[in-house]
């Protein structure tokens, strides 16, 4: 369901197959396993900084929750799917390295949450829409996921057009309106651009745990909704003290 490879300092996680990459617990668990491997390999490595790029094969990045799967057991499966997505987003938000989504195709509904839970988003320019379909389908959005929208799309008009107008946003418009960071023509080119961005970020050699801690502070509300604890004041002070002893005095 997904593959993991390493390109230089960048871990490339690819959702495989030409299907819609619907988010069900099976796919999400595969993604989480890959993220766990990224975490442990990065911890064991002495290579310095790293970065994650998440991409997908085919026409879709992800078309959202697997509603067909959920329909088969409507009293149990929707909750299981939401919980699995929560855990995946929590893994991404706590990943000790910069993360980039290479949105190589259509992304809609829950797929948008997956993409926006990355630090950066590069989107394929020549085809594919960013589309929050929930209003069109009549599906409510739980607050923990909505908080991702609020955090990543602060502009009220853009938020309204995306959520309340069900706008199918092209990559160019998404870039202009600040939903994604870059629009790049071609799927392969979009992935390459994301990897290049990853290399640049990895080369900064940031301490991964500190990076994750800063990210969690920046997106406090989202993390709280996903059950991620922020580092306490004490832990942050201890980390700062440890970092200071490592720095050459010229850098301080």
């Amino acid at each position: 369901m997904c593959t993991l490879e390493k390109r230089g300092r960048v871990y490339l996680l690819t959702l495989t197959g030409t299907d819609e990459h619907r988010l069900n617990p099976m796919l999400l668990d595969a993604v989480r396993s890959a993220l766990a491997r990224v975490r442990s390999e990065a911890a064991a490595s002495s290579d310095g900084g790293a970065a994650l790029v998440t991409a997908a094969e085919g026409k879709f990045f992800s078309n959202g929750f697997d509603l067909a799967w959920a329909r088969a057991s409507p009293s149990l499966r929707p909750g299981l799917m939401t919980a699995a997505l929560h855990r995946t987003l929590a893994d991404l938000l706590s990943l000790p390295m910069p993360t980039i989504a290479a949105v190589t195709g259509h992304v809609s509904a829950a797929g948008c949450f997956l993409a926006l839970s990355h630090d950066y988003v590069v989107m394929r320019a020549d085809r594919g829409f960013f589309y929050m379909s929930e209003v069109d389908i009549g599906l409510p959005i739980v607050d923990s996921l909505m908080s991702v929208m609020r955090a990543k799309i602060p502009d009220p008009r853009t938020r309204r057009d995306v959520l309340l107008r069900g706008k199918k946003v092209t990559a160019a418009e998404a870039e202009a309106r600040g939903i994604v960071d870059r629009a790049v023509v071609g799927a392969r080119e979009a992935v390459e651009a994301a990897i290049a961005m990853g290399e640049e970020l990895a080369a900064r050699n940031w301490d991964g745990e500190v990076y994750a801690s800063i990210r969690k502070g920046l997106f406090k509300e989202v993390c709280k909704g996903l059950g991620l604890e922020e580092a306490s004041g004490e832990e942050a002070a201890a980390a700062a003290a440890a970092a200071l002893t490592k720095q050459p005095s010229s850098k301080l």
């Binding site: 509603l67 959920a70 329909r71 409507p74 009293s75 929707p78 909750g79 929930e134 209003v135 069109d136 389908i137 009549g138 599906l139 409510p140 959005i141 739980v142 607050d143 923990s144 909505m146 929208m149 609020r150 602060p154 502009d155 009220p156 008009r157 938020r159 309204r160 959520l163 309340l164 107008r165 069900g166």
Partner: protein, 248 residues
């Protein structure tokens, strides 16, 4: 003062008469009962609808009826009257933020203070370009903002410099400037053209046939602080879960 009509799937609420459309207790009551009427009509016949709010004359609304408040006689009695208007208007904002359909304000004239708030309580705002300003007059008059005014402005005007100019500079925004700074969505020639544009937009939005309840829930999730400030509680995840399952 508030006249309600229905044109197929679009409800049109018009603030009638040539005056400043000052909001006093009667006007607010009339507005609330119109919004209640809309809700009951759509509950009886679910489907896609939209609301347009417009006004006759040179003013959209110039805010609360301060003349009535000042006529109370003593400063403390005046303050009480003003407080009562602030308290009465809060549920209007709540009604609009929870209305189960898209809402479009056709800002056909000056919109100041509570009148400005009335406009931005709508999902979309279109404004006449030939005259009229948007203006938060409170600083010039020496009045603080009610908390919910500030929450609403923070929700709908994200740019911090624009928000500063609106609240701390008491700036009078022309339609063109309001559009450039993201306060209104589009500018149109005359009042009539503005209303036409609002009706066209509302018709399009109504034709999307959205589930009104889900629309309102998504709106509240998009602007939770403003909603909380006017006493609206968002539906819990359990309720949302039930709706989700019913739609599968």
């Amino acid at each position: 003062m508030f006249a309600l009509e229905r044109r197929d799937r679009v409800f049109v609420l018009t603030i009638t008469g040539d005056g400043e459309h000052r909001l006093n207790a009667d006007a607010i009551a009339s507005l609330r009962s119109s919004l209640a009427e809309i809700r009951s009509q759509v509950a009886a016949a679910p489907g896609g609808y939209a609301l347009v709010t417009a006004a006759e004359g040179r003013f959209f609304s110039n805010g609360f009826d301060l003349a009535w408040a000042n006529a109370a006689g003593t400063p403390s009695a005046s303050r009480q009257r003003l407080s009562s208007l602030v308290a009465l208007f809060r549920p209007v904002v709540a009604d609009l933020l929870s209305l189960p359909m898209p809402t479009v304000a056709a800002v056909t004239g000056h919109a100041a203070a509570a009148g400005f708030m009335l406009a931005i309580s709508h999902d979309y705002a279109v404004m006449r370009g030939d005259r009229g300003v948007l203006y938060m007059s409170e600083l010039d008059i020496g009045l603080p903002f009610p908390d919910y005014f500030m929450s609403l402005m923070r929700a709908k005007i994200a740019d911090i410099r624009t928000l500063r100019d609106v609240t701390l500079r008491a700036k009078k925004f022309s339609a063109a400037e309001a559009e450039a700074r993201g306060i209104v969505d589009s500018v149109h020639g005359s009042a009539a053209e503005t209303v036409e544009a609002a009706l066209r937009m509302a018709k399009e939005l109504a034709a999307r046939n959205w589930d009104g309840g889900v629309y309102a829930t998504i709106r509240m999730g998009a602007f939770p602080e403003a909603c909380a400030a006017v006493g609206l509680e968002e539906e819990g995840d359990e309720e949302k879960g039930k709706t989700f399952v019913s739609k599968l």
